[in-house]
Amino acid sequence: MFSRILIANRGEIALRIIRACYELDIASVAVYSEADKDAPYLQLADEAICIGPAEAAESYLNIPRIISAAEIADVEAIHPGYGFLAENINFARICRDCGITFIGPPVEAMQLLGDKVEARKLASKAKVKVVPGSDGTVENVDEALKLANEIGYPVMIKASAGGGGRGMRVAHNDISFRSAFGAAQAEAKAAFGDGNVYLEKCLLEPRHIEVQVLADNDGNAVHFFERDCTIQRRHQKMIEESPCPVLDERDREELCTAALRIIKEAKYVNAATIEFLLDKDKKFYFIEANTRIQVEHPVTEMVTGHDLIKWQIKIAAGRKIKLKQRNIKHSGVAIECRINAEDPKKNFASSPGTIERLILPGGPGVRVDTHVHQGWTVSTKYDSMIAKLIVHQRTRTEAIETMKRALAEFVIEPIKTTIPACLDIISHNLFAKSKIDTGFVERNF
């Protein structure tokens, strides 16, 4: 087992990893930018090293500075969290070359599944249905137009190097397709440094279901069931739950074993999430694989009782999964609301500022993952998520009631947050019946 790990991240996920290290008796080394210098979670780490000014490019995305910090702190491994360098192949490669264990997949597996086009090919090879679309990247707009007509509108134009709901455009006809295609390529180039795009059929009113998987160095792989992340706004998840309310055991089994086939085909190691879209007929189609731990991992932790961050660390340290799939059970229902510093009344415009009054919810079935405290200043430099509120109860109805209570108790003032928006969604009768699809939020709120 490692004796010292560096956490190449910030905020709530850095704190989450520090907590796992504490319980595993591993010394944690946190890095921080000047904007985060007063973060209390830094005091919970065994060491904290300033790596740069507030700009992410100069700090949390700065590979030389992070590796230098790893060297002077003499760590054996780096946990990249999510976002920032978590899916950066270059970073994973540099860690390997410097003799530092990257807590995540091997470079080759990350490369294979990280490229959305390659991942689609791999999924097909693993006999998993993918969303109908182009066979690879499409460079030429005329060729793309022809393909779009074959696939049938509406069509989604997606960046191969993209992910996380970014670098996507929808076109409903030939006219909008031409402009959307060029725009998508430009956006992809700017955001991901790679202008390659591919096409996918836009499924009507789909649900977003993802499977949590874990694999070790020996090729043993298990799943921890699925999460339903259909509540999204502009492709960003707002609310997640497990299990998916509309899957029966047979569908669940089929979905989860499909995810395992993909992982094994990719010779993947460590934690990953395989994302699918479920159409109205409960047919599922692979869309992408995320080669990292996800924001919504607590939902799975609550229903299965497994600590996924600890699993990541153990696998990276060489531990084998001795767990049998039949011994992984899910119990009850867990729901997570992401709380962002955004004003729902102003079209979710970001609402930075100092939190003058903070009261966290509590009581039975409530878990809060947050790095903020009273007096914390939410800056515009980093993403707007400031807390994750997770509830777990025996039934979905009870989980919804607890979430309503917890949201009502949660006070973050005077900045605006998405707490009222989450409350509105959770209280909506369609959410209660789970008659939702990925367009639900934008249609109703």
Binding site: A27, A48, I49, A69, I72
Partner: protein, 189 residues
Amino acid sequence: MTCTLAGCALLSGRRPSRESRLLRKDAQMAEKDTDLQKIKELIEIMKENDLVEIEIKHDDDKIFLKRSGGQQPIVTTAPTAGLQSGAVTLEQARPAPIATGSLSPQQQEELVDIKSPIVGTFYATPSPDSEPYVEIGSQVNPQTVVCIIEAMKVMNEIKAEASGTIAEILVTNGQAVEYGQVLFRVRPD
């Protein structure tokens, strides 16, 4: 590794296990009287040797004594001063400035900081056997190389980016430094 970074609470070595922390707490209660005696002895040492600051670390315990020119020494301890004789590492025993005279508060404020632009290891000399790039009193201009910071096996030459004389050197050879850490203070021309 005992690593001291000025201006940052960087603790040395591994965090002790919960059990050893509890045992230490009991032992510390009994040592309270001995600690007081040791602090008094340290104060005497400081006065005799005209020291302005002393910082002593032992595992998780730290004691920092500061004496401002002739007045009673200011004592800060964190969390408890469990000082065992023989196992103490004396670090940053800063002598009161001599030849150049004490810096008055007004003079302190006029000093320009040279901060580390990267994370790495500080070296005062170009190579192990050479003279340091600068010393207290050295004249510098913006292009003067004042030190090397090694990061990922690359020796980065750090320029002064200020004009004046080196008034203070806050780090020692081989010390790990973080981004923004103050390395030197320059009295501008």
